[in-house]
Amino acid sequence: MATSSEAISLLLVTLAKVAVVLFILLTAIAYLVWVERKVVAHIQSRWGPYLVAPHGLLQPLADGLKFLFKEDIVPTEADRLVYWLAPFLAFTLAFLSISVIPFGESFQWRGHELFQITDLNVGVLFVLAVTSLGVYGIVLAGWASNSKYPLFGGLRSSAQMISYELSLGLALVGVVMVSGTLSLRRIVELQSGVWHAGSHSTFLPHWNVLVQPVGFLVYFTSAIAETNRVPFDLPEGETELVAGFHTEYSSFKFALFFIAEYANMVTVSCLATLLFFGGWLGPVFGPSWLHPLLSVFWFCLKVFCFLFFYIWMRGTLPRFRYDQLMAFGWKFLLPVGLLNILVTSFLLAWQSS
């Protein structure tokens, strides 16, 4: 058992880590929105936000203030308690899964791991569990508003998220089988090194995306559907449902949903980086004090590439129709995910025999 002073220092360090991660993440999300507006604008030959500070750099701040000072309208027929609960649930769950993400190589300070809030030995499953709870925020928001468009949005999204959660989980099974562990840190460590062709070493890194290419495609497609983004953003398809589940939400409660959606994007991008693209692994050079910082830099760069891809997709692809979405999830992604597990297990058994 840990002594009480150890327990207190663990608590303090953990709280400090949570505060720092939360601050960085919220700032990053605010600027992710700015990046999204700018990139989509440039894809569509527009300028995007330009008025607040040079290149609209302070636009997130202006948006945040606007959200805070707008009138908070609650529909009279709404179920008050659940109506309040839903945005907080969505927000909390979106940020909970970040707690097991390792941001960089192991870097100890007085026995405390600095680049990860906590290393759970079932990290992959923890993220899945939190993601599976995330649907409640949307469903309850749709129900509590007591209005038809939010209800449709809530129903659509719950059906969508349940369907795509299956293929998401199946895609991760392949990686877990190859790695033989559920700890995110261990999975990344196993991806270090380069491929060897005979006695020659190639420049290709030993990333899981090359071992599990099908798994990665299934994962990322389902992840886009899980986060309700284009081309799977049917829960908020504005041409059919006004704005989907958050139609009746205004002011700061709407902002909470908005932040939660972007936090979920960050989470699935982090998970894709860790599981398939070698996490924080990358070229390391310079003095030894630079190495931990470089690992964090590589991790952030990879995550940013995924986030950029999200935005790029939004600017490029039209929205799926609802029946197409369901058919794609159940009749294509799910069988492909199952087949991937089958092939992987055969190959693993063949390799070990």
Partner: protein, 163 residues
């Protein structure tokens, strides 16, 4: 650890009472989710991380989502007690008393004598549980999956008039 156990156990009991006592179906379902999540925390406290996470994924994340979905689809608002529901407490109270007596009898009988806990720590990792499921209990495991398949087929037959 002990303090945490009593807090979480208290939350579980209160939420379980709320499942039964709420008049609005959605509130009952939400209380049940709280019960299931606090059970997961109890598993965490005894070191069964895998079981805790699976509990959340399967029960809170999959089964209860379906419950909530159905309640929403039926648009079930606050329940109004009917004529026959006045009979329920008369019949239910004796049954509840019998059940509680039995429950406490079993618990008191199972309580370990003395202060030391007799149970050896179990390996509750994914590998150990997988080994048990696919070696020692492979038949019950497969039979359960067939049972679920039958249930799915039944649902399809009931829901689709023409196949």
């Amino acid at each position: 650890m002990a303090a945490l156990f009593y807090i979480v156990a208290g939350v579980a009991v209160l939420a379980a009472l709320s499942v039964v006592l709420q008049r609005t179906p959605v509130y009952s379902a939400l209380s049940l989710i709280v019960v299931l999540c606090s059970l997961a925390v109890l598993y965490l406290l005894i070191g069964a991380e895998f079981l805790a996470v699976i509990q959340v994924i399967v029960y809170a994340g999959a089964i209860m989502v379906l419950f909530v979905l159905v309640i929403m689809l039926l648009n079930a608002r606050r329940e109004t007690p009917g004529d026959r529901s006045r009979l329920a407490p008369l019949l239910g109270a004796p049954l509840l008393a019998v059940f509680l007596a039995e429950f406490f009898f079993v618990i008191v009988k199972q309580l370990p004598r003395g202060s030391e806990s007799s149970a050896a720590p179990l390996d509750s990792g994914p590998a150990a549980i997988g080994g048990l499921l696919f070696r020692n209990y492979v038949l019950p495991f497969e039979v359960t999956s067939v049972l679920i398949l039958v249930a799915i087929l039944g649902a399809v037959v009931l829901a689709k008039k023409e196949l």
